[in-house]
């Protein structure tokens, strides 16, 4: 805890920064990242999931939580984490359209190839049959083209800093990607 305060002490004037120009008026381009840490919690062996949605160079929405179920594999953790990001996508899309803004399919980057395959291919599989119905919600959304799942290198996943402790270089890179910077004088 003291560490967090000490971190804030060094970065007290850091904040979110939005910049750039939209390609067209009232057209948004929200870009999401998500990540899961399989057994981040030592006591209950539950996974931690996190996501961040960027818009115009700055994060607009983010979350980092310990989840309420135990995942049996990393694939499963990542797959279930997509669901949480996905629920947020639904809300964000509704918010944008309610505000008269145009937002097409939201692209979400994920560093787990297997989770992407699982989401795209609705085959029944012995290794995945125990995954609960709610987590298959993502498949519907992919078929409806509301969401694009894209594979990204772990090194380029902004949501990494939301699920695990990372090295300081990686951390400052993630921070920059989320649009957090010191105030320009």
């Amino acid at each position: 805890m003291k560490q967090v305060f000490r971190y804030l002490r060094g970065t007290s004037d850091y904040g979110l920064c939005y910049q750039g120009r939209p390609r067209l008026d009232r057209v948004l381009d929200i870009h999401g990242f998500f990540d899961a840490d399989w057994v981040g919690d030592l006591d209950q062996r539950r996974y931690t999931s996190g996501y961040v949605f960027n818009l115009f160079g700055g994060a607009v929405n983010w979350m980092s939580t310990k989840q309420s179920v135990v995942a049996l594999s990393t694939t499963e953790a990542e797959y279930m984490a997509t669901t949480h990001a996905r629920k947020e996508v639904v809300w964000l899309q509704r918010l944008c359209s309610n505000m008269g803004l145009v937002q097409g399919a939201i692209r979400i980057d994920c560093d787990s190839q297997s989770a992407i395959f699982l989401a795209k291919n609705p085959a029944y599989h012995s290794k995945t049959k125990h995954i609960d119905v709610q987590y298959h919600f993502v498949r519907d959304m992919i078929e409806d083209r509301k969401v694009l799942l894209v594979k990204v290198d772990t090194l380029k996943n902004t949501a990494n800093a939301l699920t695990k402790s990372v090295s300081s270089e990686k951390f400052s890179w993630c921070r920059e990607e989320m649009g957090i910077s010191a105030l320009e004088k």
Partner: protein
Amino acid sequence: MDSKSKKCIFIGYKDGLKGYKLWNPVTRKVVYSPDVVFREVKDVIKHEVKPKEPVKIEFELKEEESNSVAEESEDEEPQTLSVRRSVRETRQLERYSPSAFCSNFSLSVTDDDPRTVKEAVDSKDGKLWKEAMVDEMASLHKNEAWDRVELSAGRKRSGSKWVLKKKTNAEGKVEKYKARLVAKGYSQVPGIDFGDIFSPVAKVTSIRLLLSVVATSDFEVEQMDVKTTFLHRDLEEEIYMKQPEGFAVKGKKELICKLKKSLYGLKQSPRMWYQKFDTFIRGLGFTRSKANHCVYFKLIGDHVIYLVLYVDDMLLVGNDKEIIQDLKTQLSSKFDMKDLGAANYILGMEIKRDRAKRKLWLNQRKYVETILQRFNMQNSKPVKVPIPVGVRLSAEQCPKTQEEEEDMSRVPYASAVGSLMYAMVCTRPDIAHAVGVLSRFMSKLGRSTRQ
């Protein structure tokens, strides 16, 4: 009662012990004993409570209301239960004080705001506080917030309290002394004194989303604030309140106020204000967002205007200054509004813009500095990451013995995590993971967690 028995107050039970946990007010110690004869609560308390001396406060009023407002008042506290509570509070503060983690931690919002009217009037800013209170009373009278009536039998009356606060701006300078009369809503009974009480507020995400659009599309952002927000709505229920401290009518102290408008502190106030505003703004042709009920928008030809409501603060966003100005006039004609001009400070977030570069910064510098100070960390050595690699916390490191537990209970951990959480939710996704990890140990804090 036997001659050897002692009068104590029952406070609870202890795991693993047969008997009761009792507090001895004479020795000021907690004792455990199975050998207890219970007596009525009122009876026990009577023995130790000495009624407080009434506090005299004099207000000089130059407003026209001065004839209805009197100069003397009575401290409303000498109720048996509240005196007992105050004893417990001081004990807690003593316990907190030797804490190494935060020696100047205090439960109040800012350290130098007075807690009672007496404290305020005696302080060096006494005159300013008095002015603020007179101001508030004048506004209440103008809005005809209540009638003074005699209490009819069988109806409960709730108390009232002055909340005094120094309002500061983004740089931390005192802008204004603010006094607010609030009703003690906690004594309201559901079903009789209030019905539904929920009311929506804007999500920070919607505000951020809108601000990012503002930055890139070069929109105007203006801010407005509603004065005495909750007074705008007529009450449906019958609620009675004691006369405010310092402003009781001379010679008629037994009179009480029958509220006509919803006052701050009442449970239904926020909901009633929201309903009124919602009806009004939708009457102007605005559409309410289904995803967030506090976001409204309206298209006028090529122009668009958004309104985000956060209780009494509102952001007006649009690409045409005239349309915003029109809306402001319309709002001001209906409500008592204050125009704050271009938005630069909302919900503790500072908004800075560089319109030429189409950049917008959102930060909480002042808030972060305040919490660093509150938890006595303002001189700590800065580090690069909030959680170092390889640090893993688990229930293993939790305190196991009672001494360890007591040692840890001196740290205001929950409130520190809460303060961090607010920064995280508003503008700092970079500490999200760290705060998430820390908040898992809220109930079982260990020494390593504190580090």
